[in-house]
């Protein structure tokens, strides 16, 4: 915990807060400029028979007669103290609606992450330890394949095989253990590809290092070399990659929850999209951004402690708080570098 680390932590913390606030503003602007706000639409519907006076009263109750900037300020200040507003459709506090569905999505995302890590480490292990000729080439193609299959196809395939043909779980009980497991597999597969890619790159790099050659020359077998020497340094970047995939787990939940018939954040979003329940959408998107930013902040703060080679000072003058700081780099790597 030296001064340079603390400065780095402080800088990242400020950045994270700024990004969360900006994400809220961004979502608010996108959502509030939706053509025709749903409140007025409902009120103006002649079937509901509101008088002009009542309309004016309700509109001012929701604060919709205020300028956008004032609405934004009010909404943002409520958000900061944890008040997410009231759903336009059900009149329930958004906090409650979100709290109801979070456990289910959290369980799904956590299981998906676990599946992804197990799969990724298994694939990575195979690429280093299987006979070069048969196993490795096939395994190395897995991440690329995993990234090419839409999650909904994997989900439907799993349901077709394990629910309809093998009868392992029933689609009418989406919260049973097996159903959750297979939903997690479908959600976790694309994530596992990204983790596996980083792991394989790391392992290939480490096994070319001199210390690996020394260990081999002293008679260490490939399996022991892998477990004792190669695995640890190659696993470090996994921390960053996993943090980056949080967004994908949340986004992917939209599709997977639909397919497996689960209630969760994904189904809440879909319902709010179809009913134009803007406060709920605003809340879910901003909370997703908060989760992403917090998880990535933690990953960035933990990383230098795990890996002493990482420098916490800005790389150079022009790198100051810029787009390409060292801990942020792996985003780029995830997209661009495939072993």
């Amino acid at each position: 915990m030296n001064a340079s680390y603390l400065r780095y932590a402080g800088r990242r913390l400020v950045q994270a807060v700024v990004v969360v606030l900006l994400a809220y503003v961004f979502t608010f602007v996108v959502i509030s400029v939706l053509p025709g706000d749903p409140v007025t639409n409902t009120l103006r519907n002649p079937e509901n028979g509101f008088t002009e006076e009542e309309i004016a009263r309700i509109v001012s109750y929701y604060g919709l007669d205020q300028p956008i900037a004032v609405q934004l300020w009010q909404s943002l200040s409520h958000f900061l103290v944890g008040d997410l507003g009231v759903s336009l459709r059900s009149n329930l506090p958004v906090t409650r609606l979100v709290a109801e569905v979070v456990p289910s999505t959290l369980a799904l995302a956590a299981s998906a992450l676990a599946v992804a890590l197990v799969l990724a480490f298994a694939i990575a292990y195979g690429t280093q330890n299987l006979p070069r000729r048969y196993g490795q080439g096939v395994l190395r193609a897995f991440p690329s394949l995993f990234l090419s299959v839409p999650a909904f196809v994997v989900g439907l395939l799993l349901i077709q095989v394990f629910a309809f043909q093998l009868g392992l779980f029933s689609v009418i009980e989406p919260d049973s253990a097996w159903a959750t497991f297979f939903a997690a597999v479908a959600l976790g597969i694309p994530v596992s590809a990204q983790v596996a890619e980083v792991l394989i790159t790391g392992l290939d790099h480490e096994s070319r290092q001199e210390y690996a050659a020394v260990a081999r020359s002293r008679g260490l077998g490939q399996a022991r070399l892998f477990a004792k020497h190669l695995l640890k340094p190659s696993s470090l970047p996994v921390v960053t990659v996993v943090a980056l995939t949080v967004g994908e787990l949340l986004g992917g939940a939209l599709i997977i929850e639909t397919i497996f018939g689960r209630t969760g954040i994904g189904s809440l979003v879909q319902r709010s999209v179809s009913t134009q329940d803007l406060p709920v959408l605003q809340a879910v998107v901003s909370l997703a951004a908060v989760v992403f930013v917090v998880v990535n902040l933690l990953a960035d703060l933990v990383y230098p402690l795990l890996d002493p080679r990482v420098r916490t000072e800005p790389a150079s003058a022009s790198g100051k708080a810029g787009l390409g700081e060292a801990p942020e780099q792996p985003i780029l790597e995830r997209q661009v570098s495939v072993p």
Binding site: Q15, V18, V19, V20, L22, A23, F26, T27, V30, I31, V33, L34, S144, L145, L147, S148, V149, P150, A151, F152, V153, L156, L157, Q160, F164, V246, G247, E248, L250, G251, G252, L254, I255, T258, I259, V269, Q270, V273, Q276, L281, V284, V285, A288, A289, F292, V293, S318, K320, A321, G322, L323, G324, I331, L332, Q335, V336, S337, V338
Partner: protein, 282 residues
């Protein structure tokens, strides 16, 4: 002897604009797949002669056969024909998405990288915001704002890809600006615009191309996902994602899911293979 000849024949040496590289067979296959996809999207009527919208009710839910390569759906429509006719919108919308990403993201990255200072910091935070919101969620919100159409799904996908392009572009610009030949160009009196157009952009274009190809595959998946959730053109449009989505209601006719799904996977796999090959030959 024959084996050797085959290998040599299929790994012909190609020199594409100065890249002298051996084209691996899998890359050739990938190009062939994309060529088929391209033909499907350009000439759907020629390659699939059956009517994609009006079916023969008597022929409903038939399995794959010589007459119906991918079988038929619940209205007796030829699925192969529907897949082929849905290609243009599935693939073109991914191209629209990538174009938005390259142009907007590239511009942001270019300004951030070449201006530096405050502009860089401000743009960096904007990009961070775009990255912080899960891209699929962002796409859903944007598409619900624009309206449920495939064009809008493409725009939404493009916006959610802007951040990635901005990052890569900025990194490339900074890398090139520090190069000795750029310094030399500036010392010889090269203006900022000159350096940008003559040196920075051409150098960045390769990384950007590989990323664009990769993002193209990703966009096909995202747009298929949006169509699957019903955020694209409604039926009788036959976007690939929509076909899978309507096919899933007929578990007794699994080809309704597998055939379009296989087409998506083959296309994206080919795109990804080519992207990886482009990066390696850099």
């Amino acid at each position: 002897m024959t084996a050797t000849t085959t290998v040599v024949g299929s790994r012909g040496v190609a020199t594409v604009r100065g890249w002298s590289a051996v084209v691996p067979p899998t890359v050739l296959v990938s190009f062939a797949v994309l060529l088929v996809v391209l033909l499907w999207s350009l000439l759907p009527g020629v390659l699939a002669s059956q009517d994609p919208v009006n079916g023969v009710p008597a022929d409903k839910l038939l399995g794959p056969s010589a007459d119906h390569w991918f079988g038929t759906d619940h209205l007796g429509r030829d699925l192969f024909s529907r897949v082929v006719h849905g290609t243009a919108s599935s693939v073109a919308s991914a191209l629209v998405a990538v174009t938005i990403g390259v142009v907007v993201g590239g511009a942001i990255g270019l300004v951030a990288g070449s201006a530096g200072g405050w502009a860089d910091i401000v743009l960096a935070r904007i990009v961070d915001v775009l990255l912080a919101i899960p891209s699929f969620l962002l796409a859903v919100v944007i598409v619900s704002w624009l309206g449920f159409e495939t064009v809008n799904a493409a725009i939404a996908t493009g916006v959610s890809a802007v951040a990635v392009f901005a990052r890569v572009m900025r990194a490339e610009v900074i890398k090139t600006r520090r190069a000795v030949f750029v310094e030399a160009s500036v010392l010889q009196g090269g203006s900022r615009t000159h350096v940008l157009l003559r040196h920075v952009l051409p150098n960045a274009s390769r990384s950007l191309l590989a990323l664009a190809v990769l993002q193209f595959g990703l966009s096909i998946l995202v747009i298929a996902g949006l169509a699957f959730l019903g955020y694209g053109d409604p039926p009788p449009a036959s976007d690939w994602g929509l076909l899978v989505s309507s096919g899933k209601d007929y578990p007794t006719a699994p080809w309704l899911v597998y055939a379009p799904a296989l087409v998506v996977v083959a296309t994206v796999l080919s795109v990804n293979r080519i992207s990886r090959w482009l990066r390696r030959t850099d």
